[in-house]
Symmetry: C2
């Protein structure tokens, strides 16, 4: 029988799903050509990875517990790693037991799992605008509908959140499925939710019955000022769903993150994770644990802070020196990004075309907005380039304006 070509177009049309890729990841693959200075990705500095320590750790695990590391493991994760995480979080005011911790395949997987257990398809979910693109992508896979909330230099404008929730309640609609925030050194803006607003946000979430997801990959990368307490560590924060990761303080390639959540949420996440990937790589879990037991992760983080602080300072100095009047930017006290707003009349997508011709890359602000906006903005990463490259790259950016 003659074979006719299969129509994948028809199959995809029947699904009714529109899958949107990340503009950022697509753009980054374009900018991998040699000579380009990229402020586009959210990459840590690979020259700071503690390779020797990790090499010794993985070797010890395979020598001493190879069969355990290589066999199927529990969906919740390797218990001694969950104990270590609970202990480390306790020192930062986040009280939890190992049973409150679920190991995930990077924080990205936590977003994916939360999208499926906390929300009905087509429910609204509250996100920051601008906000983390990977979260939008995860939530949209489950047909959730992100609503972008405005921010200022102190983070999410909580008054606005309360008004939005009040308006929705007055229409008799159920609350949104959850509110998602990167409260500290936010991606992409670099801003931090102020201590007062943190308390207001918790009050507001409780009053309206809205679960809060606090994604906290950056708080250990602190360059100035006192640490801001996590939402989860504050009075009234016991029900906050807290996401952490080894990606920014150890190595992202291992794909190790975690969720701390109330037990009923953990129970559902575990069931969802069974279907998603059974469990996270057992060798990677044991390797990271062993690294932390045999090395001083805090000392490593202090070293990261020193190097990244210098890079942030170079970035801010170069912006002051090179960019034209009318350009503004945030001054992040930590994390990996600064957020630049161009003078009126410029569109960062047009600027990107000229910038790429000048061998420098960034992510246009539009990528981070749910419902339009960000045309004059752009995100710059400062952790993946040396001060010299930062100066050179910002010079090229200035010539592209």
């Amino acid at each position: 029988m003659a074979r006719t070509a299969f129509s994948w177009t028809e199959v995809f049309e029947r699904t009714g799903r529109s899958l949107r890729g990340s503009e950022i990841r697509e753009m980054l693959s374009v900018t991998e050509r040699p000579g380009v200075i990229s402020f586009g990705g959210g990459l840590p500095a690979p020259e700071l990875f503690p390779i020797a320590g990790l090499r010794a750790a993985f070797d010890a695990v395979l020598r001493e517990d190879g069969a355990g590391a290589l066999q199927y493991g529990p969906t919740t994760g390797h218990r001694p790693l969950r104990e270590l995480i609970a202990q480390r979080l306790g020192r930062r005011g986040i009280e939890c037991s190992p049973d409150d911790v679920l190991i995930t395949t990077g924080s990205q997987q936590a977003l994916d799992l939360l999208g499926r257990v906390l929300a009905a398809p087509h429910s609204p979910v509250l996100v920051e605008s601008p906000g983390y693109v990977g979260a939008l992508q995860a939530f949209r896979a489950f047909e959730l509908e992100p609503v972008g909330l405005p921010m200022d230099a102190d983070g999410l404008i909580v008054d606005g959140v309360a008004r939005w929730l009040d308006g929705r309640r007055s229409l008799g609609a159920p609350p949104p499925a959850f509110l998602y925030t990167v409260a500290t050194y936010q991606n992409p803006s670099g801003v931090t939710l102020s201590p007062d607003r943190r308390l207001e946000l918790l009050d507001c979430a409780t009053a309206f019955g809205v679960p809060v997801i606090e994604d906290d990959p950056y708080s250990e990368l602190r360059y100035d000022g006192p640490p801001t307490p996590s939402l989860r560590a504050l009075p009234g924060g016991e029900d906050v769903i807290y996401l952490g990761t080894f990606s920014k303080v150890l190595a992202p390639g291992l794909r190790l993150g975690w969720v701390v959540a109330p037990r009923p949420v953990i129970d559902r996440l575990v069931i969802a994770k069974q279907g998603a990937d059974l469990h996270t790589d057992g060798l990677a879990q044991r390797g990271a644990l062993r690294f932390c037991l045999d090395n001083d992760l805090d000392a490593h983080v202090i070293r990261l802070r020193e190097v990244y602080r210098e890079r942030r300072d170079a970035m801010l100095d170069a912006l002051r020196e090179c960019l034209p009047d009318g350009t503004t930017w945030t001054e992040p006290a930590g994390g990996m990004f600064t957020w630049v707003t161009l003078p009126a009349g410029l569109d960062s997508r047009d600027v990107l075309k000229r910038a790429l011709a000048n061998d420098v890359a960034f992510v246009p602000g539009t990528a981070f907005h749910v419902n339009g906006g960000g045309e004059r903005s752009l995100r710059l990463n400062f952790t993946n380039s040396t001060p010299e490259r930062i100066w050179e790259g910002i010079g090229r950016l200035a010539r592209s304006l």
Copy 2:
């Protein structure tokens, strides 16, 4: 302000989602107590993991390309690993290029990603009955509705599939989103789809426009007879979506699987994977690759076959010797499982209670059926126990009947 407890029950009710855990994984955690001989899990034999070779491979990767292994990587996977997989598959008649291969976080993730890209919520999907529980769990997370298709000793009854599809078409309904099959040494039944039926199934899928997913974790674990060609390797099989894994031939703990699919499907899977976990552990990918380059994986598989063949034979001999008349079972030519049918009047769930009291465990057949059935059946794994333990365990099982 006084804090009231957050109502997670209300939050979960609003989602309208019913998340069902795997009975199997729940049961297995019960049977981890010492002294129990478990035929329940689908575990490979940990004493056969090539730990020394993997230890050398991971050490070489961290020594020579530590920064590459530990940094964020491409969503599609490490290209040299995709090249190796395409090359190995080519030797088994599965012609594909590295661009047709996507690395996944175990095959389980491939099922999760396919559930989201191939089907609209509430679409029917065709599965084998009995069938692989993890696939049902993955598909249900996206609100898909599995329809169980009957099997016999030659696998899926393809005539029945064609009649079902014809009936549906005569009602004017669109075809189901896909058909999912473990065609070779099936989990849980141990049966293999016959060569003739393979060709019929491909014809039928083409005629009705139904994508076929072939999940093939076991075909390298062949103990008797000639290899059965993969659906993907047959004429007319070019559009089959093929899933493979290192879990059964190398080590499951690393969570390394792959999908081979037509380019439009790969493109969508990559977008879905960005949202699910960004990419699979880069160190694990490079470690497995290096192991394959520095060692002879085929020789390792031959060793696995020898040991597992002996265990299968012990299982079949013990069943013949110990189980009462009226009991039947499949005689798998490969893979990890045999499927036992008890005499009329017995329910395997009741038998399990007595078996656990006698310190032996298995999975009742009901767990593998979509729409009821399997009360008289049970699944036995033979790869995770020595012949001595198999004889002892089947003796205990016989005493529980």
